[in-house]
Symmetry: C2
Subunit: 213 residues, 2 copies
């Protein structure tokens, strides 16, 4: 089996500003190249060009480092999008969906400051730990809940503004979140996703069900 190290690159930070950031960046690159099973403090230290003891200065053990990494990743995924201001609910909704389907905020809508292309592979690799580790599972349950809440709030605001029909915001948000994460999962683990086909079908669904006749 060969390691895959040629995916689109992605940085947590434009330039690692301090040692902690260097370690987080090195962890990201190590997950991307070797997967979770190939992670070790030694490999991360090598990639960060640090000694193992420098890494242990900041993190007690591998678990401690990985939970810090998980938090950094989730902040990267959710942070700039959480702070972004959107002109209207429809733009906001598609920006969130395109984040999953394409890993970008889409060509159709202006990019959100601080959110570039997101390579979903390390996200999926991390998230797969939740299949057998309760601590990860609880975190991703919280993350999904906050993403669901975000989508439901957008839909709710759209209904208030009269741009969306009076649908059930929770049900619609559950559905959109499943499509969004399905796109991200497929994109990260196979070459078969036709994101344009999924998006155009979803546009038709939104036209039929969410937008006023």
């Amino acid at each position: 089996m060969t390691d895959r190290d040629d995916g689109p690159s992605f940085s947590f930070v434009s330039e690692p500003e301090d040692t902690r950031e260097r370690i987080m960046q090195a962890t990201f690159e190590t997950v991307q190249a070797h997967g979770f099973a190939g992670l070790s403090i030694g490999r991360i230290a090598d990639r960060a060009d640090l000694s193992k003891s420098s890494v242990y200065h900041f993190y007690d053990d591998k678990d401690d480092l990985l939970l810090a990494f998980l938090d950094a990743m989730l902040a990267q995924f959710g942070g700039p999008l959480a702070d972004a201001d959107f002109d209207d609910p429809e733009t906001e909704l598609w920006t969130l969906v395109d984040f999953g389907l394409y890993g970008t905020t889409g060509e159709q809508f202006p990019p959100v400051d601080g959110v570039g292309d997101v390579n979903g592979r390390p996200y999926v690799e991390l998230r797969s730990q939740a299949t057998h580790d309760d601590e990860y599972r609880d975190r991703f349950t919280d993350i999904d809940a906050s993403m669901h809440e975000r989508l439901a709030t957008v839909i709710d605001r759209g209904i208030d503004d009269g741009v969306f029909r009076p649908v059930d915001p929770d049900r619609t948000a559950q559905f959109l979140l499943t499509v969004l994460l399905g796109g991200l999962f497929r994109r990260a683990t196979s070459d078969g996703l036709d994101a344009d086909a999924v998006r155009s079908e979803l546009e038709a669904v939104v036209d039929d069900r969410l937008l006023p006749a």
Copy 2:
């Protein structure tokens, strides 16, 4: 972090019939309990109550064993469903979708022989290897293509039979596959999926777009 070993159980085979099957079953249980990062020939041998050399008698190394395991899993996922006969395209379509959303063939439709509850966790754990390993990525790309083909064929047959509208089968299949895998991914990695909400939204979408007015 704690291992999660309390998920719904699932057997490849009702009773391991020979040593290979015992090894595959032990591999399944080890992935479920410890994840991919916790897999070792020693751990698998212990769980199968075999010596390590017995395992090496059948498989050259861990990679060889894991690729055999991948094939066994994919046969388990796809096999019985591939052979099943369905009375009508709509039943077949929902059976495939419910497989992802619920891990079962659903209460609403008769169970398919040989397909019971499927715990998606080891599937997601295996599939996450495709984020950094081309051999896994190629296999899951093939798997998705065959699942897509299956869905498109069902839709096509439904159109021929006059039970579905003349939609684009490829586009619709891409969309359904993304919902199905999104459900499976969420179910395996968080406690937040409201499968009933997703299904009822999808029923409304199918009503609107696929079924004749």
